[in-house]
Amino acid sequence: MNAHRHADGPQAWARLTDDALRHEIEANRRAERWFTVAGACAALLTVLVVLVVAAVR
């Protein structure tokens, strides 16, 4: 577990060991999931606004 924490974070990734680079890839994969959240939030907000406008129109 200590080794896992030790290999995480931009400073650790800069050491360029195989372990560190693998952790960087995993961190970036997790970061990509934000796009799923962003898209879903945008879709939800859009539908809400359109429904509100439809109701008051």
Binding site: W13, L16, E24, I25, W34, F35, G39, T46, V50
Partner: protein, 496 residues
């Protein structure tokens, strides 16, 4: 039914079809944006691995003295094994201090920075690159080639985030995310910053999901040596879109092109409409050439690649034909106004949810996916289609707002002629906005009316400005104008 009645119905149908054609690009845009969340769960990072090949960086340079030192220094600070990185600046017969800057940097970093000078240049970026590539292919040191522009600033982690995808032998090339990086961007640069989020951070992720990428970024593209040799060992010089040409050749040959949005580089982009116009005319002309050169690829699914997919073709041609679809929409509505005004009014009113929904979904997604750019360019993001287009959306969603509510606030009543003029103005706005965009370029920098260019830009919108530039490019290409490489002037304003 009488012939005149039949003729009238046919005409009305044709005009309605024109209006529908006008909304196809928006549909394609929404489709791409629906793929962005998919990328969050399905992307090439699951096949990436620790991989640090020997990389030769080729930097084409013509009179880049103002920007080169910073770029080269950033390359030397890349978090990448020093013995596996070499930089080759190909000086295209510069007349400024570019060669001296490179020699000074080479002296600071012996063995890592090299100057290759062409005594006779001026043939364009592709020729300059080929001079460097020819040199690099003479021995077997290079395992991967990074092509970049002289002003691009690489973040320390950018290169290794690109090379990791080359661990997959199926990958031929990787491209990074180029962010607008000026220290104090003006309006145009802020619009470009927002545009790059839509066109790169979002659209290229969507293309990753589709398995067909339209273009490797000119300032940040990494090729495997095998791919470079397979596409002929050189960059195409017959079009103005050499980057797109390489991208297509790579994929047609069965290799994958990957966009990594986590590999970020910064670039200085034009901050005037005139400079932007020059740059984008070149790009748009290049796209016309590409569309023609690869005409046997469109909409023809094939085993080895995905460029022939229906969705990729629709996305490509939606961008390609956008100016014409705007003209089609205006023509349809104006024609309906005179031939069947009730149909025009009904159709205009019924499309309100589509216009509003498209605008909201794309804008909100774009602002959320790159919060740094959103902080700098949120206003330009909201006004990307222009104040005029937003007035149109409101008119469609709430018909009485501009005709009754606002005049009431102002204490006036619109006459029938006023209503007619307003309605025709709304219907013609898609075309009018492109005409006004041309005016922005003409008045910018003039003493009398120069002040009007920025307010006009926000009124017209950056999207219609790009459409006007694209139309100009098509006219030039049709007329067979000379293919010149008009270099975008850089001043070294990138901060990171």
């Amino acid at each position: 039914m009488s012939w005149p009645a039949v003729g009238h119905d046919v005409l009305v149908t044709l005009l309605v079809v024109l209006v529908v054609v006008g909304i196809v690009p928006a549909l394609a845009g929404v489709y791409q944006y629906l793929l962005v969340p998919v990328h969050g769960l399905r992307n090439h990072l699951r096949r990436a691995a620790s991989h640090l090949p020997r990389v030769a960086v080729v930097v084409p340079a013509w009179n880049e003295g103002a920007v080169l030192a910073a770029s080269l220094e950033r390359l030397m600070r890349l978090e990448y094994p020093a013995d596996r990185l070499r930089v080759y600046v190909v000086d295209d017969a510069s007349t400024d201090d570019t060669p001296d800057v490179v020699r000074a940097k080479a002296a600071e970093h012996p063995g890592r920075i090299h100057l290759l000078r062409r005594e006779q240049g001026g043939q364009g970026k592709a020729h300059t690159l080929n001079h460097g590539i020819e040199h690099l292919l003479r021995d077997d040191w290079m395992q991967a080639l990074l092509i970049m522009d002289a002003d691009v600033i690489y973040r320390p982690d950018s290169l290794r985030r690109m090379t990791r995808h080359l661990a997959d032998p199926q990958v031929g090339a990787v491209t990074a995310y180029i962010r607008e990086g000026s220290g104090r961007p003006g309006a145009v640069a802020r619009f470009i910053g927002y545009e790059y989020v839509t066109a790169q951070a979002c659209a290229r992720r969507a293309q990753n999901v589709m398995g067909a990428v339209a273009c490797l970024a000119g300032g940040a593209q990494l090729h495997t040596r095998a791919n470079l040799e397979a596409i002929g060992g050189r960059i195409d010089t017959s079009t103005l879109a050499e980057d797109t040409f390489s991208t297509f050749l790579t994929q047609l040959d069965g290799r994958t092109v990957v966009f990594d949005g986590q590999a970020v580089v910064l670039a200085e982009e034009p901050d005037s409409v005139r400079a932007l116009w020059k740059q984008r005319v070149r790009w748009a002309r290049g796209n016309v050439q590409i569309t023609a050169r690869f005409r046997r690829t469109w909409f023809r699914p094939a085993r080895g690649h995905r460029l022939g997919r229906l969705d990729f073709g629709l996305v490509w041609f939606s961008v390609f034909a956008l100016p014409f679809t705007l003209v089609a929409a205006s023509t349809g509505f104006i024609g309906l106004y005179f031939v069947s005004p009730g149909t025009a009014q009904t159709l205009f009113g019924q499309l309100w949810w589509f216009g509003l929904g498209t605008y909201l979904f794309i804008t909100i997604t774009t602002l959320l996916v790159d919060l740094d750019t959103a902080r700098r360019s949120w206003f330009e993001g909201l006004l990307f289609p222009g104040v005029g287009a937003l007035v149109l959306v409101v008119a469609s969603a709430t018909p009485g707002f501009w005709l009754d509510t606002v005049p009431a606030w102002l204490g006036i009543t619109l006459t029938p002629a006023g209503v007619e003029a307003w309605t025709l103005l709304l219907y013609s706005w898609p075309v009018l906005s492109m005409v006004l965009a041309r005016l922005i370029r003409d008045v910018e920098g003039t003493r009398l009316l120069g002040w009007a260019s920025r307010p006009l830009l926000y009124l017209v919108g950056y999207g219609p400005l790009l459409c006007a530039i694209t139309l100009d490019a098509y006219v030039r290409e049709w007329r067979g104008a000379a293919q010149t490489w008009d270099k975008t002037e850089k001043t070294g304003r990138v901060t990171a």
